[in-house]
Symmetry: C2
Subunit: 189 residues, 2 copies
């Protein structure tokens, strides 16, 4: 998606040679125009597919997911990372190992919000080694729902999460794939 | 806001006499149509005020805040609750005591995203005792930005957070205020 690539090139900050910080428009400060355009693009990519619900994980996936859900006219569900009194009763649960945060955390969705009749589109902001996406896929599998596919804002193509998931037959649509870095810039696929 | 009151009455679940669960449309499963309408209503309420940025706190405030930010055509910033490698360097920081989660947590915003030239609208999903809102106000104060006001989805009018903040002179606009419960329903202000 050209617009997202332009944002990454113009507003992202290259750090240390192989990290690009996008916290001025994606995951701390968030640009609502870009989120809306990404939501429309995700709808376009999955045109013709039946989707009944969008699933993401708190927190950085929520802004993209709610825009895609608005365009698709379906509810959005976000999986919760932290124990909270607000989720009671039966939940689907899995453990994700986060390399960003350097720890394991439990992720949960109340069973009432994912059912075997659902057709799920998973949305997240980043795909690197695939840990978060595999966790979300596990929640969908536990519910018996059909996984239609995944939509990602930025895939780090130089890590193998996307490759492995596609080899397993999952449909993964990344709006921008970063394959590497040069001295002055970013190599998009 | 009539639409939100209808959602609360029709889809909320009364628990134990003084709690209404809204996790099927607001804070776990999220209804994008309602979020968008709330964003438009927040814009209408603050018509004529100069706003340069919307500030919320992860995670449940994000969906409302990004819709309001889209309508206002300004960036949205969400304060982070958990330590993460993604925020480095200088941050504004405060401690919030959560009664929902039964613990204290640190909340942070990178200094680069709040400046003394900003005119901030704070948005959150709930206002009860005001702990989260006071924390967000502290972050705005630390930055030297001007606080234009706050917009809340659901205020629990039977707790004193909203009353105290209004007495201190803050503009607090709640889209629905629950003053109490009867045996079969909710009393809205």
């Amino acid at each position: 998606m050209k617009l997202l690539e332009e944002y990454i090139e113009k507003k992202g900050k290259l750090i240390g040679g192989n990290i690009v910080k996008v916290d001025c428009f994606l995951n701390h400060q968030v640009d609502p125009y870009l989120m809306h355009e990404m939501g429309k693009e995700i709808k376009r990519l999955y045109e013709g597919e039946e989707i009944t619900k969008v699933l993401t994980i708190e927190s950085s996936g929520i802004a993209i997911a709610i825009m895609a859900a608005m365009e698709l006219n379906v509810p959005m569900v976000f999986a919760k990372k932290n124990a909270t009194k607000n989720i009671s009763g039966d939940v689907y649960n899995t453990t994700i190992t986060s390399f960003t945060h350097g720890r394991d955390y439990d992720v949960r969705v109340a069973k009432e919000f994912l059912s075997k009749d659902d057709k799920i589109l998973i949305i997240d902001d980043f795909l690197a080694n695939g840990a978060a996406l595999n966790g979300l896929i596990s929640l969908v599998d536990q519910s018996g729902a059909k996984l239609v596919g995944c939509a990602i804002a930025i895939e780090k193509g130089f890590q193998d999460g996307g490759k492995k998931l596609r080899e397993q037959g999952y449909r993964i649509e990344s709006l921008a794939i970063i394959d590497g870095f040069t001295e002055n810039g970013i190599i998009f696929r």
